[in-house]
């Protein structure tokens, strides 16, 4: 069963969470506890922080995320294609060229529109 492998990965996941939490808990027990108001303030090189955390973010962040999403899904198609290439031959290569050309249109559009520029 394929689950068999993943039981080990699940155990590793739980173990890693424990491995990460344990020293933090130990630190909570061992470390000094001298609370003060200014210590629990937000760090801003000595200045008090003003206003809320919100900053006007650039729309570029969203653009990069979208591009990443599209290319991520492209990988989901590319990986099986690459794995099966052996039994498919040149026809598959041509099909993949077409697929990637279609997607390249998006990249070229983004490039031409100037949204890949970080300014």
């Amino acid at each position: 069963m394929i689950i068999y492998n993943y039981v080990f990965i699940g155990m590793l996941l739980l173990g890693a969470i424990g491995f990460a939490m344990a020293p933090v808990i130990v630190m909570g027990i061992l470390g000094p506890k001298k609370r003060s108001k200014s210590k629990s303030e937000i760090y801003e090189c000595g200045l008090l922080t003003t206003g809320e955390t919100w900053v006007r973010f650039r729309i570029q962040y969203y653009i990069y995320a979208i591009m990443f999403l599209v290319f991520d899904i492209e990988t989901v198609f590319l990986y099986p294609w690459a794995a099966a290439y052996e039994s498919l031959g040149l026809f598959a290569l041509v099909e993949m060229v077409i697929f990637l050309l279609i997607l390249a249109v998006g990249l070229v559009y983004a490039w031409a529109k100037g949204v890949l520029k970080w300014v």
């Binding site: 394929i2 900053v55 492209e74 559009y109």
Partner: protein, 215 residues
């Protein structure tokens, strides 16, 4: 063992889904959604579709969650604002509608008779074996379960060729559409006049803009 695992995953999954719907803070809701995605990936593993589980984690946790977070940040819901509240009347009526649908679905699932020649859903208690030893195992299905990446690739470029290319067109359309929507004003958002206009719209925002150069 199988059933206990399923029970744990399903319980956590339903709780995570509820958390997504009920959490007031949008980032917390998105976090619950990530947990839900992960538990769905676990369910895919339980269904022996581990390729799909990896795809689920890659696309949903790796990409969709990031986009949602960026969306939340860009719409100024840093700590969750008032549009995240839920009115009581709306909640009760929505809850009733949802509960009704759940009742109908569960009843339908448990009462299914099955089409002619097939067993009803409630009678299907074991999955068809895919081990070479099992007499019922079909070679193709065995391969599909044990090396799904390969079989998906083969099918993608033969039987599902048209959907595959259409998916490419769809993705390009989504990319182009999203960029066109987002940068509707073009790069001009950066020139000072435009900025001043925007800043007037969000007065609070303009005040909090940090002075990065002074840090």
């Amino acid at each position: 063992m199988n059933q206990i695992l399923f029970g744990v995953i399903a319980t956590l999954g339903v709780l995570a889904a509820l958390g997504t719907v009920l959490a007031r803070n949008l980032v917390h809701a998105a976090l619950f959604l990530v947990a839900f995605f992960f538990l769905v990936a676990c369910q895919f593993v339980m269904l022996e579709a581990e390729f799909l589980a990896a795809v689920q984690v890659l696309v949903y946790i790796g990409a969709v969650a990031i986009i949602l977070m960026f969306g939340i940040m860009l719409t100024r819901n840093i700590q969750g604002d008032d549009t995240t509240t839920v009115s009581k009347a709306g909640f009760i009526s929505g809850g009733l509608a949802a509960a009704g649908l759940l009742a109908v679905l569960v009843f339908g699932i448990l009462d299914d008779e099955g089409r002619t020649g097939r067993a009803g859903w409630r009678d299907v208690t074991t999955r068809p074996a895919v081990y070479p030893v099992a007499a019922r195992a079909s070679a193709e299905q065995t391969k599909a379960v044990n090396n799904m990446g390969f079989v998906v690739g083969r099918e993608l470029l033969t039987r599902y060729l048209i959907p595959f290319e259409v998916a490419g067109v769809l993705l390009t359309a989504a990319l182009v559409g999203a960029i066109a929507l987002a940068v509707q004003d073009g790069p001009s958002t950066d020139d000072p006049a435009e900025r001043a206009k925007k800043a007037a719209e969000h007065t609070a925002a303009a005040e909090t803009e940090p002075q990065l150069t002074s840090a």
